[in-house]
């Protein structure tokens, strides 16, 4: 793709979380205290890693492991788009998540909850020509955040996306509709704009599911970047 005719505007503040937020106290010691330095967009930010099918590796798109994984089977499907709503093909999509008991396969997760030996908790693929990705997995469980009183993270799936430029890189989380924990989650609520928060909540869509087997959810994702000159029509 021709990178020189694309532009990457600064993020619109209320639609993105602040680096420092009282809702997520850990940010006090990790977020920079000095003001961010304005950076003119250069070829460094407007270019970015290009991925091919071989880069997706063998993690795969079906985390259910032949239905051996414990939990509520679900499919999550969505379209990755730029700010003009155009589908982004060959965008790398990665996801990782807790198991149905809210336990991660990570040594830092010290909570006493069961591991699921059949669940890797990670997947990766490239979007197709229409910008579409699709994973089969299980609905993750909620889990408590240590030393916070009694903050429980609502069920969520981590998403990592590479568009076509360094400037279009995104790491985010997908939440589930109707979960009361969404309202008290310091990480979701760190996004100031309500509409932007709502866009992090998947939409139930049985067309994405598998009849009598798997629930379906849609989660569309917009990455930064648009045409330099708006197209006519």
């Amino acid at each position: 793709m021709n990178q020189s005719n694309r532009r990457y505007d600064p993020f619109d503040a209320p639609s993105q979380p602040d680096l420092r937020t009282d809702k997520y106290m850990r940010t006090r010691i990790t977020a920079p205290a000095q003001p961010l330095i304005p950076l003119p967009r250069t070829v460094t930010e407007a270019s970015g890693p290009a991925f091919g099918k071989a880069d997706a590796g063998d993690l795969g798109v079906d985390l259910s492991n032949g239905n051996k994984v414990i939990g509520s089977l679900m499919v999550v499907e969505g379209r990755v788009m730029d700010e003009d709503g155009r589908p982004l093909a060959d965008a790398m999509v990665e996801l990782w998540q807790a198991n149905a008991a809210g336990k991660y396969p990570h040594e830092v997760d010290q909570r006493s909850a069961p591991q699921d030996p059949h669940f890797t908790g990670a997947g990766r693929m490239l979007t197709d020509a229409e910008g579409v990705y699709r994973f089969t997995t299980i609905k993750p469980g909620a889990y408590p955040v240590p030393n916070t009183g009694n903050w429980w993270r609502p069920p969520h799936i981590h998403f990592s996306l590479y568009g076509h430029a360094f400037a279009s890189r995104l790491v985010t989380q997908m939440f589930f509709p109707g979960d009361p924990l969404n309202e008290s989650d310091g990480i979701l609520q760190a996004v100031p704009d309500l509409a932007a928060r709502n866009r992090l909540i998947a939409v139930p869509d049985q067309r994405a599911g598998i009849p009598e087997q798997a629930l379906g959810y849609r989660f569309d994702i917009v990455l930064r970047g648009r045409a330099e000159t708006p197209m006519v029509g």
């Binding site: 619109d12 997520y24 850990r26 990790t30 977020a31 000095q34 950076l39 993690l59 003009d84 932007a196």
Partner: protein, 184 residues
């Protein structure tokens, strides 16, 4: 033409899945296919001076001629990533990038000194922070991006040669010697 708002960022969290990391992802030379290799390494600290594990660092650079890869089968792909170790260490092995045009598209002829863009995700970071790695043994004086950094903070962006082919650069997310971060 529709106009859509980019999806909000959320933190990487403390439980990144290591299966997503391929062996050798922090080696841009592809095990020595590109030479001579250099290694840049250091420790990532938080605002309390604690070395921090499980931060994801992403490195993006041009090739020796100052050109960025734009396809998966480019000879030099220019991209690597690394997750900080339990003692907060990272390292990338790569080749020195060339100088990169700054304003060629607008008819200018200014150049950016050899550098890599570095994106950092991690627990406690609600969105990516972006910095750059320059090299102390290069002529950085005329780089228009480095010049935008307050002079007293510029040394914090310079990887220091330690021995043949080895550079060191520590990163501080906040606090004393806070690494200069750019608007993303």
């Amino acid at each position: 033409m529709s106009s859509m708002i980019p999806t909000a960022s959320q933190t990487l969290g403390p439980f990144y899945n290591y299966l997503l990391m391929r062996p050798g992802e922090n080696d841009l030379t592809q095990a020595g296919k590109h030479a001579p290799g250099i290694t840049i390494s250091g420790t990532l600290y938080d605002g309390e001076g604690a070395a921090r594990r499980d931060f994801l660092l992403e490195w993006w650079q041009a090739d020796r001629a100052g050109t960025y890869a734009d396809r998966p089968d480019a000879p030099f792909r220019g991209f690597g990533r690394c997750i900080t170790s339990p003692d907060g260490r990272y390292s990338f092995t790569t080749i020195k990038p060339g100088a990169v045009p700054f304003d060629a598209g607008q008819g200018g002829n200014r150049w950016q000194a050899p550098h890599a863009a570095l994106g950092i995700f991690g627990p406690g970071l609600m969105r990516r922070v972006v910095t750059r790695v320059y090299f102390a043994d290069e002529d950085n004086g005329a780089c228009p991006v480095l010049s935008a950094v307050p002079e007293d903070r510029r040394p914090l962006l310079l990887a220091q040669p330690e021995s043949e082919g080895r550079y060191r650069l520590d990163i501080s997310l906040s606090g004393k010697d806070e690494t200069p971060f750019f608007q993303d």
